[in-house]
């Protein structure tokens, strides 16, 4: 965990409201687990709280890391106007990512993602492929125009798309796609990140799976585990987990979502 002014190398618009930000700095040389995130100070003095974003890609060799984000409010809108060469005060890598050590080459993993839950899953998929794991992706979007990183994911394994309006791939939400395509397929690991509905579907479906993981979002203040803003209740105890520090990745059945 460190604080660093990362340099903006490139900002690229992927869809109407999704942007890819390439940053450079020593932080990219830190050991990270796919699923960890960074917490970015938006360069607007009215906005006091940092904004958390999953790490979509990290390359220690070039000291670069990538974020992918959707403009949903003030902070991400300001971010989308940042030009190359600017500095972005960033803390990270934060939190606990997706466990992958237990997987052997040749085993099979299912990655389930939706919307802006996808960025950390891209890092994860690359990691798994490096380990020799066969990766299947099930990715949901509202409609065809929202899809980004299709080529990138297809290079890593099979990709099944679901769109709410049927404009691309399976017609319906991702839970239905899972029913239709993967009801009987066994995976050695399952990973998910995306909207709450998607996480609930995965959490229910793979509750007893020994290696199924979901990555949560939560409103944060400190981002480092010291303010108790981001808590989520444990499933079967009174314990409260901190999404920023105990998570954002939890095993299915571990937390109340």
């Amino acid at each position: 965990m460190q604080q660093e002014k990362l340099k903006v190398i490139k900002q690229r618009q992927l869809t109407a409201d999704v942007f890819e930000l390439t940053l450079k700095g020593a932080m990219a040389k830190a050991t990270t687990t796919a699923g960890q995130f960074v917490d970015v100070k938006i360069p607007d003095d009215r906005l006091l709280l940092r904004r958390p974003f999953g790490i979509a890609q990290i390359d220690p060799a070039t000291s670069q890391l990538r974020l992918i984000y959707r403009t949903v409010g003030q902070g991400t809108t300001v971010l989308s106007h940042i030009a190359s060469g600017a500095q972005l005060d960033t803390i990270g890598p934060l939190g606990h990512g997706f466990p992958t050590d237990f997987l052997q080459a040749g085993q099979r993993a299912l990655i389930i993602g939706g919307g802006t839950g996808i960025p950390p899953l891209y890092a994860l998929s690359r990691q798994l492929v490096t380990q020799g794991v066969t990766v299947t992706h099930a990715i949901g979007f509202g409609h065809r125009e929202q899809i980004f990183y299709e080529k990138e994911f297809r290079e890593l394994g099979t990709v099944h798309y679901a769109t709410d309006d049927g404009s691309y791939g399976f017609h319906g939400h991702i839970g239905l796609l899972l029913d239709a395509e993967f009801a009987t397929t066994e995976f050695d690991a399952v990973y998910a990140c995306g909207p709450r509905g998607l996480l609930m579907a995965v959490n229910n479906r793979y509750r007893t799976h020994p290696h199924a993981y979901i990555s949560l979002e939560s409103r944060m203040a400190c981002g480092v585990g010291e303010c108790y803003a981001c808590v989520v209740p444990a499933q079967n105890s009174t314990k409260l987990y901190k999404v920023c520090d105990d998570g954002p990745v939890f095993a299915t059945g571990e937390v109340e979502i």
């Binding site: 604080q3 940092r50 005060d89 585990g225 010291e226 108790y228």
Partner: protein, 308 residues
Amino acid sequence: MNRLAVELPGLNLKNPIMPASGCFGFGQRYAEFYDLDQLGAIIVKAATLQPRAGNPTPRVAETTSGMLNAIGLQNPGVDAIMADKLPWLAERYPELPVIANVAGSTESDYVEVCRQISTAPNVKAIELNISCPNVAHGGLEFGTDPKSAYALTKACKAVSKVPVYVKLSPNVTDIRVIARAVEDAGADGFTMINTLVGMQIDLKTRQPLLGNRTGGLSGPAIKPVAVRLINQVHQVSQLPIIGMGGVMTAEDVLELMMAGASAIAVGTANFSNPQACPEIIKALPDVMDRYQIRTLTDLITEMAVTSV
């Protein structure tokens, strides 16, 4: 000569800067960003007698130049704090003065926590939190009624082995009444201000955004209110004040000290910048030069006399 040193009951500080309660936990993760020994002191997260789960989420929201929080005093309880958190600090930072923030639902809760936590070797003072706006019982009730504030302060003073600072609420018609009651009860100082009660509504749901509906407003937005209230209390009491409320820069530190504070706590700024405290400490001497301030002790003395 250390230009930044300040002295308050129980606290000989090499500089006046300390993280504010609840905005720094017990410092463990912030210690990964910098050496906590740079701090003048550290005010740790509220301790209650029993562990507390806090409020439903969302617990924080952002406002223009401020934030709302309704954490609800989540903490592992005084036993766990004394067993784990305080020793962790004592081991690594034996010289770092700790101010323990104490909260509760009943007077006897407060008293019991004070009795226990004031025996921790690194706890040099207690901050009696009678102003938390985010809990249904205790908290703000004690902070808005002079009689309750008096009784609670007196009871806690009776058992505490270290000086007791009482944390005042800005959510009152006349803060001087509370300040006087607390002073009469034997308090050693004040800390102020706690957060202003605020609310944000989610336009999509048409409901309050915070799980607790309301939350405490902090950050630069409230600094003018902090300056005003610190100054008002400073004019009616000789007791030292640890000032807080929207401090982001060394200039802000001087402004609160000119209003009457003798030391400064930094809350929300830690979230914007985890290294806010050491950066402010580092900037202080130059800013003091700019305004012809030789030492902070001089400034405090001057302000005590002129009583702005």
